[in-house]
């Protein structure tokens, strides 16, 4: 067994502990160095893990898979980690104590996401998911003196534990009925007809329910708005972007590698979740006054779109649909992270996050306003932004698989979402400011917003290279 394939993971774990340790020796006003240092280290790890390019191996007799798919998401999560670290520095400095642990937990959760996607077997994926969830529980309640943050943490841990229980019960039922937890073993067992028993189907449905909680799909979404609203803003960003992307990346691997032969069994369930999530998420978003809650509901809607792609994974269409799903997940992650980066920046400058508080932002800081508008247009799915291209790809995949009506529902929902995004844009651009004075954005944040905006536009008009990468990465799921 070649343990050198795990060097990035070891480095990442080491970095997490290093940050915790270094925190003890740094004076309070120097803690931001931890974030910058970690971001640099994550970048170094990302670059160094390129030696895995082209490798396709498994470790611990198939528990960890080192393949193109894992590598793709390894790089992506490291990148998200860097962006979230950089976006949280000013917020942490201003509002939170115990900076070291905050950054350390983010690093551990990045590690967890990487392992979750690389797992080739149910239990190790589950353990990785738990590592991720525990980091996030703590992060959600990090603003200790803010009752809302406490409430968010408690809600999140209770519902999280409950959903994990459901997931675990589902996994145990699957193991009980077919006797293996390895993905390829499960697929073989289904093909051999061993899965035609109620235990397996019940297990499958419980797994879907458990995952439904994680990705906040209706009717398992109740926790999301409260947690999103209460958690510190950078954590909300992280929750809605990274944890969701990781859950979907795992979900795709699980459904393609393990459950695809039982496609007919789970497809109707996924379709129902998709239709419900996008409709409920977008309709309820209309009434929100808090921008974090608005984005919480809109990301519930987004989960519905992604599930539309999962529902289109029928054997003939699977390779096309998985490219579409991952492409949309990436586009969604970048778009949402951009929107949240604006919200973090605005919160740092004003301490406000109600939508009417954004009145006249275009006059007070045209740059944040511009970036926020682009992010929201992208989320609504308007060209030239990445959201349009990914949605088009995704809905085409669904239509190609005989789900034209579901694609049509998704398109209708996109238009509903455009309405509530335009309401935000009205406050930002059309209403006159309630307070005077220009707002000055710190340099790091300007840079990050600039980079993210360029990515939104670039991937919207020139997605070819990324889509080719994704096609190559998802290709290994079918080999």
């Amino acid at each position: 067994m070649n343990l050198t394939l795990l060097i990035p993971e070891f480095l990442l774990a080491g970095l997490g502990f290093l940050v915790l340790g270094a925190d003890l020796f740094l004076p309070r006003d120097k803690k931001h160095l931890l974030a910058y240092g970690s971001a640099a280290a994550l970048a170094a790890i990302a670059i160094s893990s390129l030696y895995l390019l082209g490798k396709q191996e498994s470790l611990f007799s198939g528990v960890v898979l080192i393949d193109g798919y894992s590598l793709f998401f390894k790089l992506f999560f490291l990148l998200l980690g860097i962006l979230v670290l950089l976006a949280s520095v000013d917020y942490v400095k201003a509002y939170l104590s115990y900076a070291g642990e905050f950054y350390g937990l983010i690093i551990f959760s990045v590690l967890a996401m990487i392992l979750m996607v690389a797992a080739g077997e149910l239990l190790s994926a589950y353990i990785a998911l738990e590592l991720l969830s525990f980091s996030l529980y703590v992060l959600a309640s990090y603003a200790r003196h803010d009752p809302k943050s406490n409430e968010a943490g408690v809600k999140y841990i209770l519902i999280g534990a409950f959903s994990t229980g459901i997931l675990l019960y589902g996994l145990s039922l699957i193991y009980g009925s077919i006797g293996t937890t390895f993905y390829h073993g499960i697929a073989q067992a289904i093909q051999a007809g061993k899965a035609a028993n109620p235990g397996f189907v019940a297990g499958l449905i419980l797994v879907i329910a458990g995952l439904g909680f994680k990705v906040a799909a209706v009717p398992f979404h109740m926790w999301a708005p409260d947690v999103y609203e209460g958690a510190p803003v950078p954590v909300t960003a992280y929750l809605s972007v990274a944890s969701k992307a990781a859950s979907f990346a795992w979900l795709l691997r699980l459904f393609v590698e393990a459950f695809s032969p039982a496609f007919q069994d789970w497809r109707p369930v996924i379709i129902a979740l998709a239709a419900l999530s996008m409709t409920v998420g977008n309709l309820v978003a209309i009434h929100q006054r808090n921008i974090k809650r608005l984005l919480a509901y809109s990301s519930i809607g987004q989960a519905g779109y992604i599930l539309t792609g999962i529902a289109a994974l029928s054997p003939l269409n699977a390779s096309f649909a998985s490219t579409a799903v991952i492409f949309h997940v990436i586009g969604y992650a970048i778009t949402n992270l951009t929107a949240f980066a604006c919200i973090i920046a605005y919160y740092n400058l004003t301490g406000k996050d109600e939508i009417p508080d954004y009145d006249g932002l275009a006059m007070r800081n045209p740059f944040i306003a511009f970036v926020l508008a682009i992010a929201l247009f992208s989320a609504a799915g308007l060209p030239i932004f990445v959201g349009f291209t990914t949605k088009f790809y995704l809905f085409t995949a669904a239509a190609k698989d005989g789900l034209l009506w579901l694609a049509a529902l998704a398109i209708v929902n996109s238009v509903i979402s455009l309405y509530y995004y335009l309401v935000v844009i009205r406050h930002v651009y059309i209403s006159s400011p309630k307070e005077e004075g220009r707002l000055h954005l710190p340099r790091v944040m300007s840079l990050e917003l600039g980079v993210l905006t360029s990515a939104i536009v670039l991937l919207g008009v020139y997605p070819g290279p990324l889509v080719r990468l994704i096609t190559a990465a998802t290709g290994v799921l079918f080999s």
């Binding site: 060209p383 239509a399 005989g402 049509a408 455009l418 844009i425 009205r426 070819g464």
Partner: protein, 495 residues
């Protein structure tokens, strides 16, 4: 040189340059925009002159790889229907920038959005890949909300109030509702053809089957039709156009409504000839209602801009009627009407903009004898109005005449109704001219200044086009005819 790509690139480059220009340098911002618009106009003229009428068909083709996996390529070309539209866009944009010379509030943002709008418009006219056609179609909708919401104006009377935010939201939601239908139909086409491509040239060879065409043609018809002002989905148009700032009204009513009509031809009728044949008897009824209803509604307005807004709805009705005849003359007339109405309505909105800018009101009831103080404006308004009511020698006459001839060949009864619509137009236009511009000057307007030199130049360009096409429609007609004949033959099943 990749001519069509440059046509797209010019406004895009203009946008980038503007974004990099500091916002406080308003003069620089305006000159950059004018330079961009001039370059785009020049290129549009170039496209018009290099288009080979004898060869007809799609020309100046360019193809760039984009996303192979899903079958999208950046495939550009023009035919005899899109060439006049490109020219129209160039002219209206150029004059629109000139008419916006007085925009001094957040100037940079205004021109960035205006140029974005224009690149979307050009994109629709030159894209042969359905993905990109839709991409640019949506791009043209995107800036509208802000353009109207920030720089627009509300309409306030004691009995009638429409805020600009209302107009902006209504316009955007109607148009994206149309996009839903178009998008769904595109996906259906892609799945049904199962060729793995969005290329129009590949898809037009597919026979989609009668039932499928019948089912999905209305999606294209209504989806694009909403933007073309199709009754009863036209209500966004007066509200939106009235709320919009001058240049945006000019572009939106002048050019963007044509995107809808163009989409019906380029996508709907091309892909679904049998579906089109089945639905045209219904479209002609709706088109006629457009004409008559729009004209009657225009008569009842108190806000000068609403008159122009409803007259737009009425005139777009001729375009829809012309399409529905499926007669070469009727369709030719409709396409010419798209061009003629584009110029004419741009001129009318420009004029209303001049009056509103000076008088700070658009209330018809209080205007009297403006011609005494605003001689040029009154003269231009007369030309535009006479074009609108179809006076021979002006472009509107040629277009509407062809539409009527086509209609009488196919649906004589509705043709009569259409002519009644034209008669009502004459009533409200002449009444408007006599009330607002002619007659004794009300003392309230003693000090009203006339249109500035820049504005007069812009409007003179538009007037010139109206007269030129009215007297000598041949150059334009021969271009249009080269492609219309083919399309009509395809739809009525001769080829």
């Amino acid at each position: 040189m990749p001519l069509l790509f440059s046509l797209l690139a010019i406004p895009a480059v203009g946008v980038v340059v503007l974004l990099l220009t500091p916002g406080r340098m308003t003069a620089a911002v305006k000159w950059i925009s004018l330079a961009t618009a001039t370059a785009a106009l020049g290129l549009s003229l170039w496209v018009f002159f290099v288009y080979d009428k004898a060869a007809a068909g799609y020309q100046l083709e360019e193809t760039y790889q984009w996303l192979e996996g899903i079958g999208i390529s950046f495939h550009l070309a023009v035919d005899g229907i899109s060439v006049p539209m490109i020219l129209l866009t160039g002219i209206v944009m150029f004059t629109g920038v000139l008419m916006s010379w007085r925009v001094n509030n957040r100037t940079k943002d205004f021109f960035v959005l205006l140029l974005t709008l224009v690149s979307g418009v050009y994109g629709v006219f030159i894209s042969l890949d359905l993905f990109f056609l839709f991409f640019f179609y949506e791009l043209a909708v995107l800036p509208m909300y802000l353009l109207i919401g920030v720089w627009g104006s509300s309409s306030r009377f004691a009995t009638f109030t429409r805020t600009k935010e209302y107009g902006a939201m209504k316009l955007v939601l109607y148009l994206v509702a149309g996009s839903i239908l178009i998008w769904v139909a595109l996906l259906a086409v892609y799945a049904q053809a199962n060729l793995g491509t969005f290329d129009l040239l590949a898809l037009e060879k597919v026979n989609f089957g009668k039932e499928f065409q019948r089912l999905f043609f209305p999606l294209f018809l209504v989806g694009f039709g909403i933007l073309a002002g199709l009754w009863p989905f036209h209500t966004w148009s007066p509200d939106g156009h009235v709320a919009a700032p001058t240049a945006v009204s000019m572009l939106h009513a002048g050019v963007l409504m044509k995107l809808g009509a163009f989409g019906i031809l380029r996508v709907g009728m091309t892909l679904f000839p049998e579906g089109a044949r089945d639905w045209m008897p219904i479209l002609i009824v709706f088109g006629t209602i457009n004409v008559v209803y729009g004209a009657v509604a225009a008569m009842a307005q108190r806000d000068l801009k609403y008159v122009v807004g409803y007259s737009s709805v009425s005139h777009m009705g001729y375009v829809l009627m012309g399409f529905a005849t499926l007669h070469p003359l009727g369709v030719n007339g409709a396409v010419l009407q798209m061009f003629s109405h584009g110029i004419m309505t741009a001129l009318l909105f420009a004029l209303v903009g001049v009056v509103y800018d000076r008088a700070h009101t658009r209330d018809i009831t209080i205007f009297e004898g403006l011609a005494k103080r605003m001689g040029r404006t009154a003269a231009f308004f007369s030309v535009a109005g006479l074009t609108s009511l179809g006076l021979p020698g002006l472009s509107g006459f040629v277009a509407e005449f062809l539409v009527f001839v086509g209609t009488f060949q196919t649906y004589p009864l509705l043709g009569i109704l259409g002519i009644i619509g034209a008669a009502i137009t004459a009533v409200y236009i002449l009444r408007l001219l006599s009330k607002v511009f002619f007659g004794p000057l009300s003392p309230q307007w003693e000090r009203l200044p006339d249109a500035s030199r820049i504005e007069s130049f812009a409007m003179a360009v538009l007037v010139f086009m109206l007269v030129f096409v009215g007297i000598n429609p041949r150059p334009l007609m021969s271009v249009i005819d080269s492609s219309v004949i083919k399309l009509v033959q395809r739809v009525i099943g001769l080829t």
